[in-house]
Amino acid sequence: MRIKLNSIFVDNQDKALRFYTEVLGFKKSKEIPVGEFRWLTLVSPHGHADVELSLEPNANPASKTFQDELFRQGIPITAFEVDDIHAEHARLKKHGVAFTMEPTEAGEVTVAIFADTCGNLIQLYQPKP
C-alpha cells in the first residue's frame, strides 16, 4: 500500500488546469474524459514523478459545501512543500495571487496561504534545514 494520489475539489476544471500549470508550475499528467468532466491529474516537475494531484469537479453539492466552509474558515485544503518560500511568495504575488497569510514562521516550518482561484486555500511550507 502506498500514497500516490491526492485530490482536491475545484469549481472549474479548465480554470484549475490553467492556474495549476501556468501559475503554480505543475505539469498535466492525465486527462481522460468522463461524461462532461475529466479525470485530470498533475505532477510536480520538482517532486516525485509518480505522485499525482487530481483536480476533481465539485459538482456534488456536498463537496461545494465542504469546500466553501473550509475556505470561509481560512483553512487550507492541502499543502505543497517549497524550497524557498519567500521566492515563491514573491513570484506568485507577481502573478496576482491573493495571500491570506504572508510567509510566517511556525516552529519547524515557514508557512504561507493563498487562494487558488478555484474555491480553495492552499498552504505552502518550507521545512527548516
Partner: protein, 142 residues
C-alpha cells in the same frame, strides 16, 4: 494581504452572486463588502478567478446544467428558475459556455454517454461520488 475579515466579506459577496432571486447590482454588493467597485472587482477576481459579473453568470449556468441534467424541467422553466429574463439570451449564453444549446444538453443526459467506452479500471470512483445524481444515472445504464 487579505485579512480573515476581508475573506469573509468576499465569501458573503460570492453568496450574493450565487443567488438566483433578484439581481443586486455589482456596485451594491461591493458596498456591502466595504469596497469600492474597482477594488471589489480586483480582489474578487484574484481570489475566485473570475470577475463578479462572470462569476454570477457561471453560477447561473452551473445551476441550469444541474436542473437540465435531472430532466424534470423544460428549458424555459430552467431559464427563469436560474434568473435569466430572456430565453434567447439564456440559450445563446449557455451554448457559448457549455458548447451545446440547453435543449441538446438536456437530451445528452437521456442517452447513454461515452463513459461506457472507458475501461472499467479507469472509471474513477471518486468522480462518480462527486458528480452526484446525474453521473450515477449514467453509470447505472452500463
Amino acid at each position: 494581504m487579505l485579512t480573515h475579515d476581508a475573506l469573509i466579506r468576499l465569501c458573503r459577496a460570492r453568496d450574493r452572486l450565487r443567488e438566483t432571486e433578484g439581481r443586486a447590482p455589482i456596485a451594491a454588493i461591493a458596498r456591502e463588502a466595504g469596497l469600492s467597485p474597482y477594488h471589489f472587482i480586483r480582489q474578487f477576481a484574484a481570489v475566485f478567478g473570475a470577475t463578479p459579473h462572470q462569476y454570477r453568470i457561471d453560477a447561473r449556468i452551473e445551476r441550469a446544467k444541474h436542473l437540465l441534467a435531472r430532466g424534470n424541467h423544460s428549458v424555459t422553466d430552467v431559464c427563469f428558475e436560474v434568473g435569466f429574463e430572456s430565453l434567447g439570451s439564456f440559450s445563446d449564453l449557455f451554448a457559448r459556455r457549455v458548447g451545446v444549446p440547453p435543449s441538446q444538453y438536456r437530451r445528452r443526459w437521456q442517452v447513454p454517454s461515452r463513459v461506457g467506452t472507458l475501461p472499467p479500471a479507469l472509471i474513477p470512483g471518486c468522480l462518480l461520488l462527486m458528480c452526484g445524481e446525474a453521473a450515477s444515472a449514467i453509470f447505472k445504464k452500463h
